[in-house]
């Protein structure tokens, strides 16, 4: 017989000792309309400057080509959806890395970074130009004989807004999708009002003269082709050149890939809806308003007074009393400031995200990943991006068309690398499941030959090639910038080879906030769904059961609790034999990756316990779960696990009747279950 005084009989509560609730922003998912709003804040903002820049490049034909480019955004969006169906955490680097290899991925990243380096300055300066235009309109209205100097004020505003968002990003204030939605709602309202006034004006004026189709290139817009007169004479080449000068309207499309990770279940369907909204909004907002501007504003004024604030020009030339026009211009300016400022912020966030993604793979040295002591942000990257943007703003002296000339390089070459990779992956990763494929495919044996994809590749490659010739500034600055970045990446990768290997060996690790709570009620207080499922996890490489639950979960009102019962080494009473604690950060990193693949929010918790089955039962009871789901254990086997959970559950009932619950053990193609 044992000495009873030396033996502790654990009570029910004794089996759970310490609860940790894990939280991360990575588990917050947004609906399609918020995702569309985030993309449009960047992509839609080009409506404010594209028309003017295109007009300066090839004359009055610009609205046709801006409209045409907006049509091209449709197939590009579809290509991006296919990329998202392959990579939840996409972006240019992983996609091109998989498709074309690491060297090309580095080059592609360099071109996207070039795009981001110029998106901020062009957006900031454009916003400044709209403010100047409005203030000068007010001076005119009040007969004040003074005009603000356009470019100087625009540069000051661009610097101020860049510094503001630099500080916000250093502090790590997350970009809010709610804020983006409000900006887009306001912009839609502004767009509608402007549309109504523009249509009424056209009806009142009658006799609408459509802009010419033939582009008239300025000397500067011919670039290296200045001495190749045959190029403008061959119609199709001229058309391509005009499209090349309008392509900056597509800037910001990459944001769609960045935002995909955050989209809620069903992810691809929601992404498709978001892409449709983006396409319609961009076509109407950028294409439509640019077209209406060309019909309403006299051509000479577009080239002179309104080349840098085209939509203000539209507001000021509709048929309405002057005061109403001023109000319209004010609305346009507010929408412009909001969207363009959003684009400045997105450019910093985007560049920071892309460089971080590269740094995570070990390609960049630790210098880039250095964390700010107080705010925990990667401040070296943010500082570098913002310094580069400030240099661009100052160097441009507020000349928006100069930046516009350079801008298209990054936009186009990132498309080239990305769409080419997507097409290559059709053959390279043909077995990888795609929830969405770019339309127009021919099935041949095991392949879906992407005819539609090939066409998109041909179009963007042609545009990129023609831009290399016609956009001198873009070619020189873009190639130089990309070459410098590529060399930095290359040297950094060599210096960091050992670290990269360690990162690869260790695998992905998510940053998790850990909050210790006193009791299970507090740990589960965040549950709001009508029903709950408890999923017990332990092995980072055995999460089939967790994935199966998420795959089959169509009910958004069900809370999914993901629980790890962590065995405690120095707690021997009643301890289950042979169970050792595992690396919980690896476990939950994998849980988060799976959750974001399906876009389902989950509640990760970790309880310290000497018996996982008691702990699982206790948490399930407290949560009033309708299901307990476990993966099969290599040590016990499914039947033994079910026996243990049945025993633990019934002991813990302690005379109180509980709600019916089903315990399930799932493994590849099999399931055993028991209903209590």
């Amino acid at each position: 017989m044992s000495d009873e005084s030396s033996v502790r009989q654990p009570s029910n509560a004794f089996r759970v000792k310490g609860i940790t609730v894990l939280t991360t922003a990575m588990l917050t998912f947004i609906p399609f309309w918020k995702a569309a709003a985030i993309v449009l804040c960047d992509f839609g903002s080009s409506a404010f400057y594209t028309g003017g820049i295109a007009m300066l490049a090839f004359g009055s034909a610009f609205p046709w080509y801006v409209l045409g480019i907006m049509l091209l955004s449709g197939p590009l969006l579809m290509m991006y959806i296919e990329a998202c169906s392959l990579f939840t955490r996409g972006g240019i680097f992983p996609v091109v890395n998989a498709g074309l290899g690491e060297t090309m991925a580095k080059a592609a990243t360099a071109s996207v970074l070039f795009d981001f380096m110029l998106t901020g300055p062009i957006s900031g300066i454009s916003a400044g130009q709209y403010i100047v235009g409005f203030v000068n309109s007010l001076f005119e209205f009040f007969n004040i004989n003074f005009a603000l100097p356009n470019n100087i004020v625009a540069v000051i505003f661009a610097l101020a807004i860049t510094l503001y968002f630099w500080w916000q990003n250093i502090k790590g204030i997350e970009d809010s999708s709610d804020k983006s939605s409000k900006i887009i709602q306001f912009s839609i309202a502004a767009c509608l009002i402007l549309f109504i006034f523009a249509i009424i004006t056209l009806i009142q004026r009658g006799n609408i003269e459509l802009p010419p189709l033939k582009p008239q290139f300025s000397k500067a817009s011919l670039g290296f082709a200045e001495n190749m007169s045959f190029m403008t004479k061959i119609g199709y080449i001229g058309v391509l050149m005009a499209f090349g000068h309008s392509v900056l309207a597509l800037s910001g499309l990459e944001t769609l890939v960045q935002v995909y990770r955050e989209i809620e279940y069903p992810k691809i369907k929601n992404l498709q809806i978001a892409a449709l909204i983006i396409f319609i909004f961009a076509f109407v907002f950028t294409g439509g308003l640019t077209f209406l501007s060309s019909l309403i504003i006299p051509a000479d004024l577009i080239a002179t007074k309104y080349s840098e604030n085209l939509l203000s020009g539209l507001a000021m030339h509709v048929n309405a009393p002057h005061i109403i026009k001023l109000v319209l211009q004010a609305i346009v300016v507010i929408a412009g400031i909001l969207m363009l400022s959003g684009a400045v912020n997105t450019s910093i966030i985007g560049a920071n995200g892309i460089v971080n993604r590269m740094a995570e793979t070990g390609i960049l040295t630790d210098w880039f990943r250095k964390i700010h002591k107080k705010y925990g942000t990667t401040y070296h990257i943010i500082n570098t991006v913002c310094i580069a943007q400030i240099i661009v703003i100052i160097a441009s002296r507020g000349d928006i068309s100069l930046i516009g000339q350079a801008y298209a390089f990054g936009v186009l070459w990132s498309f080239v690398f990305e769409v080419l990779s997507i097409v290559v992956l059709r053959f390279k990763n043909r077995e990888q499941k795609r929830e969405f494929m770019m339309p127009f495919n021919i099935k041949y044996r095991h392949y879906y030959i992407p005819v539609g994809g090939f066409l998109v590749v041909v179009i963007v490659v042609l545009l990129a090639m023609i831009n290399l010739i016609t956009k001198k500034t873009a070619t020189i600055s873009g190639l130089s910038f990309a070459a410098v970045l590529f060399i930095i990446f290359h040297i950094s990768q060599r210096l960091n080879a050992k670290k990269a290997n360690d990162i690869f060996e260790e695998g992905h690790r998510e940053k998790l906030n850990r909050t210790n709570v006193d009791n299970l009620a507090a740990a589960l207080s965040g549950l709001t769904g009508e029903s709950r499922v408890l999923i017990a996890v332990r092995n980072p490489d055995n999460l089939y059961h967790f994935e199966t639950v998420l795959k089959n979960l169509s009910d958004e009102r069900t809370d999914v609790i993901v629980m790890y019962a962590k065995p405690i080494d120095n707690w021997s009473v009643g301890k289950t034999a042979g169970v050792k604690a595992i690396d919980d950060s690896e476990l939950f990193s994998n849980v988060i990756l799976i959750a974001e693949n399906y876009g389902h929010h989950v509640y990760p918790i970790m309880v310290n316990s000497n018996d996982p089955f008691y702990a699982i039962s206790q948490v399930a009871m407290e949560a009033k779960a309708k299901e307990i789901v476990m993966g099969v254990s290599a040590s016990y086997g499914a039947n033994d696990q079910l026996e243990r959970i049945v025993m633990a559950w019934n002991v813990l009932q302690n005379g109180k009747e509980q709600n019916p619950i089903v315990a399930k053990i799932l493994w590849e193609g099999r399931e055993v279950s028991y209903k209590f």
């Binding site: 044992s2 009873e4 009989q9 654990p10 009473v573 019934n650």
Partner: protein, 153 residues
């Protein structure tokens, strides 16, 4: 056979197979005694083999519950019915995981998959029925075997 609602262990436990153990005994010896008792009407069953299966299982995953009830068990191929034996231990013993055993309920069930739900229901019923107060009541009355039987059935 045993249904979920059924809370009567007489369905599987013959009253001749209830023991009150007052002397010091190890967990292994106790299980061995109960294996012998449970298999007394099954001459074709290899008791040694069953004992080794049960002991091996106990090493991997203990069947001792917090209440003081231990439920060693096994699923056997050549069996067509449930066989059980139980022991009340007024002088509790301590298992290898530091838990006290005051009552041990040993049972064998047929291994066929159709019997597995019944097997689980029996475990559920035992875990639920043998609460701390129920076990304490059994232990208190351990000197009167008749009362123990009455409480159990």
């Amino acid at each position: 056979m045993l249904t979920q609602e059924e809370n009567n262990i007489s369905v599987v436990l013959n009253e001749k197979r209830i023991f009150i153990i007052n002397n010091n005994i190890s967990k292994t010896d106790l299980i061995a005694s109960l294996v012998n008792a449970a298999c007394d009407e099954q001459p074709s069953i290899d008791k040694e083999e069953i004992l080794s299966v049960v002991l091996k299982r106990e090493q991997g995953i203990s069947t001792t519950l917090d209440t003081g009830l231990s439920i060693p068990h096994a699923r056997i191929d050549d069996l067509n019915s449930f066989e059980a034996a139980a022991a009340v231990l007024p002088r509790a013993i301590t298992d290898e995981y530091g838990l006290q055993i005051k009552v041990m309920f040993f049972f064998l069930s047929p291994s066929g998959s159709v019997f597995f739900p019944q097997h689980l229901r029996l475990l559920a019923m035992l875990a639920k029925k043998f609460s701390v107060s129920f076990i304490n009541e059994l232990v208190l009355c351990a000197d009167k075997k008749e009362i123990v039987r009455k409480i159990l059935f």
